[in-house]
C-alpha cells in the first residue's frame, strides 16, 4: 500500500457535496474506484466534477468544503 494524493485539476471553489442539502460525495475511510466523483470545483460559475483518478481508500480530505483552491493543490490523500 502506498499513499498518493489527488490534485485539483482546476482553480476555484471546492465542494465536497453535489448540493448544499446533499450528503458528501465521499468521507474519510471510503473505498473509491478510479471513476468516482470526490468533489466539485466551481470555476467562473461553472461546476466541474473531480474524479478520483485512482482506486483505493480515502485516508483524509486535505481541502475543506467551500475552500478556495488553486490548480494542482492536493485535495485528498488516498491509500492505493
Amino acid at each position: 500500500m502506498a499513499t498518493q494524493q489527488i490534485f485539483s485539476p482546476l482553480p476555484g471553489i471546492f465542494y465536497r457535496k453535489p448540493a448544499p442539502d446533499k450528503p458528501d460525495y465521499k468521507s474519510d475511510g471510503d473505498t473509491i474506484t478510479e471513476h468516482d466523483t470526490i468533489g466539485l470545483i466551481e470555476v467562473m460559475k461553472s461546476f466541474n466534477e473531480v474524479k478520483a483518478g485512482a482506486a483505493g481508500k480515502i485516508l483524509r480530505f486535505l481541502a475543506e468544503n467551500e475552500e478556495a483552491i488553486m490548480a494542482g493543490q492536493p485535495i485528498a490523500e488516498i491509500d492505493v
Binding site: L10, P11, G12, I13, E42, V43, M44, K45, S46, E66, A68
Partner: protein, 466 residues
C-alpha cells in the same frame, strides 16, 4: 443630498465603469474587494479600497453587513451595487437606506415589485403593456390549465412554478401532447422542487430579445430607445446592439412608449431595463421582465444616444431631477457590443482563468473597450468570466460590423482563452450580417461551427488596413 463619497459594492469591469463615472462627477470612490481581488483594476483606480472577506462571493460581495460596515468605516454616503450580486436585492436596498445612506438604484419597493414575476406581470397589464399570453400565476388543476391553453393556442410551454433558468420546461404543440405532458410535468416538478405548481405560457417561436432602456427620477420617466440582444448562449447574451435592426419605426414607438408607461406606473427611480420578446412576423411584442439596475450592455445605448447612463443614475440618486427631456433623446448611428469572456469557444466554452501575459487593446475612431484587464493581471477563478466588453459605433449597422472586425483584429489577450474568435466568426456570418437571428439561433450555430472557433481566420479588415 449630493453624493460626496460613493462605495462600489461590486467588482470587475462594472466597478471600473462606476469609478470612472463618479470621478467625472467629482465624487470620491471607495472600492470594496475580496481577498482574491486585491490586485484588481478597480482597486487600483479607486481613491480608497477596503477588504470585505474571502474570495467566495457569499462571504464577500454578498455579505450585506460587511459592506454596510465598510461604508461606515470609510465614510461613504452612497452605495452603487452595479449588476448581479446585491443589485436587485430589495432587503439590501432597504438596509442601505435604513443606515442613512443613498442606494444608487430604485426603491426597495420597486425592486420587490419587479422581482416578483406575477406582480410584475400584473403591473404590466394594468399599464396596458402586452405580456406573453398564459396563466397569471400557478395552475392547480389540469382542467384550469386546459381551459387556458384553448384560449392562447399552441404551442405552449409548461413551466414549473418553482423552477428557473430553463429547468422543468416542456413544450406542447397540440391538445393531445398537452394532456400527455401535463401530468408528467407535475410529477417531475414535485420530484425536483418539492412543489408541483405549474404555469403555462404561449411559446413565441423564433422571437427576438429586445429591451428598452429607461431613466426615471421617481416622477418623470424617459426612454433611451432599445437594444437587441437575440444572440444568446444558455440564456446569456453574447452580442448586443442598438438600435434593434428588426423594428419598424411604428413598432419602435409603441414598444418604447409601453416601457415608459409601465415605469411611470411604478414611479420608477434610476436606470432600468424592460425586456420583451418580439415576434417580427406578427410585429407583436410581449413584456418579459424588468431589470431594476444598470445592465452589462448599457454602453451601446450610450454610444447611440450620447447619454452617460451611469452618470445619470448617480445624479438621480443624489436627488437631481431628470436633466434630459424625451424629445432630446435621439439615436445616432449604430452600436454593437461583444462580450469578451475568459472562455474557450473551441472547447465548449470551458472557463479559462489565468494571467494576462500581454495585452493589446483596440482603439481609434468609434471604439470603446470597457474592461478590468491590465498586463500582468491574474484573472481569479471565483467570479463570472466577463473580462470586458468591446463596443463599436459607426454611422450604420454594416459599417459598425466592419469596425467591429477591425477592432477585434487589434485586440490581443495573451495568457488565457477568450471569446474573441467567436465574435470574429459571428461578424463574418451572412445571417448575422443580415440580422436574421432570434434567441434560439446561436446554440445550433455553435454546434455547426465548433471546429472553426479555435483559431481565428485571417481578418479581411486587417488586410485592407495594411
Amino acid at each position: 443630498m449630493t453624493i460626496q463619497k460613493l462605495l462600489i459594492a461590486n467588482r470587475g469591469e462594472i466597478a471600473v465603469r462606476i469609478i470612472r463615472a463618479a470621478r467625472e462627477l467629482g465624487i470620491a470612490t471607495v472600492q470594496v474587494y475580496s481577498k482574491a481581488d486585491k490586485d484588481s483594476l478597480a482597486v487600483r483606480l479607486a481613491d480608497q479600497s477596503i477588504e470585505i472577506g474571502p474570495p467566495q462571493a457569499s462571504k464577500s460581495y454578498l455579505n450585506q453587513a460587511t459592506i454596510l460596515a465598510a461604508a461606515g468605516t470609510t465614510g461613504a454616503d452612497a452605495i452603487h451595487p452595479g449588476y448581479g450580486f446585491l443589485a436587485e436585492n430589495a432587503e439590501f436596498a432597504a438596509a442601505v437606506e435604513a443606515a442613512g445612506l443613498i442606494f444608487v438604484g430604485p426603491t426597495a419597493q420597486s425592486i420587490r415589485l419587479m422581482g416578483d414575476k406575477v406582480a410584475a406581470r400584473e403591473a404590466a397589464q394594468a399599464a396596458g403593456v402586452p405580456t406573453v399570453p398564459g396563466s397569471a400565476g400557478r395552475l392547480e388543476s389540469a382542467d384550469a390549465a386546459f381551459a387556458l391553453v384553448e384560449k392562447t393556442g399552441f404551442p405552449v410551454m409548461i413551466k414549473a412554478a418553482a423552477g428557473g433558468g430553463g429547468r422543468g420546461i416542456r413544450i406542447a404543440r397540440s391538445a393531445e401532447e398537452f394532456h400527455h405532458l401535463m401530468p408528467q410535468a407535475r410529477a417531475e416538478a414535485l420530484a425536483a422542487f418539492g412543489d408541483g405548481g405549474l404555469y403555462v405560457e404561449k411559446l413565441i417561436e423564433g422571437a427576438r430579445h429586445i429591451e428598452v432602456q429607461i431613466l426615471g427620477d421617481g416622477r418623470d420617466v424617459i426612454h433611451c430607445f432599445e437594444r437587441e440582444c437575440s444572440l444568446q448562449r444558455r440564456r446569456q447574451k453574447v452580442w448586443e446592439e442598438a438600435p434593434s435592426p428588426s423594428l419598424t419605426p411604428a413598432v419602435r414607438d409603441r414598444l418604447c412608449s409601453s416601457a415608459v408607461a409601465l415605469a411611470k406606473a411604478v414611479d420608477y427611480r434610476g436606470a432600468g431595463t424592460l425586456e420583451y420578446l418580439y415576434d417580427d412576423r406578427s410585429h407583436e411584442f410581449y413584456f418579459l421582465e424588468m431589470n431594476t439596475r444598470i445592465q452589462v450592455e448599457h454602453p451601446v445605448t450610450e454610444m447611440v444616444t450620447g447619454i452617460d447612463l451611469v452618470c445619470e443614475m448617480i445624479r438621480i440618486a443624489g436627488g437631481e431631477p431628470l436633466r434630459i427631456r424625451q424629445d432630446q433623446v435621439r439615436v445616432r448611428g449604430h452600436s454593437i457590443e461583444v462580450r469578451i469572456n475568459a472562455e474557450d469557444p473551441a472547447k465548449g466554452f470551458l472557463p479559462s482563468p489565468g494571467t494576462i501575459n500581454a495585452l493589446s487593446v483596440p482603439s481609434g475612431e468609434g471604439v470603446r473597450f470597457d474592461s478590468m484587464l491590465y498586463q500582468g493581471y491574474t484573472v481569479p477563478p471565483f467570479y463570472d468570466s466577463l473580462l470586458g466588453k468591446l463596443i463599436v459605433h459607426d454611422v450604420d449597422r454594416p459599417r459598425a460590423i466592419r469596425r467591429l472586425e477591425r477592432a477585434l483584429a487589434e485586440l490581443s489577450v495573451e495568457g488565457l482563452a477568450t471569446t474573441r474568435p467567436l465574435h470574429q466568426a459571428l461578424a463574418r456570418d451572412p445571417d448575422v450580417q443580415a440580422a436574421r437571428f432570434h434567441t434560439a439561433w446561436l446554440e445550433p450555430w455553435l454546434e455547426n461551427h465548433a471546429s472553426s472557433l479555435g483559431t481565428a481566420a485571417p481578418s479581411p479588415t486587417a488586410k485592407v488596413a495594411q
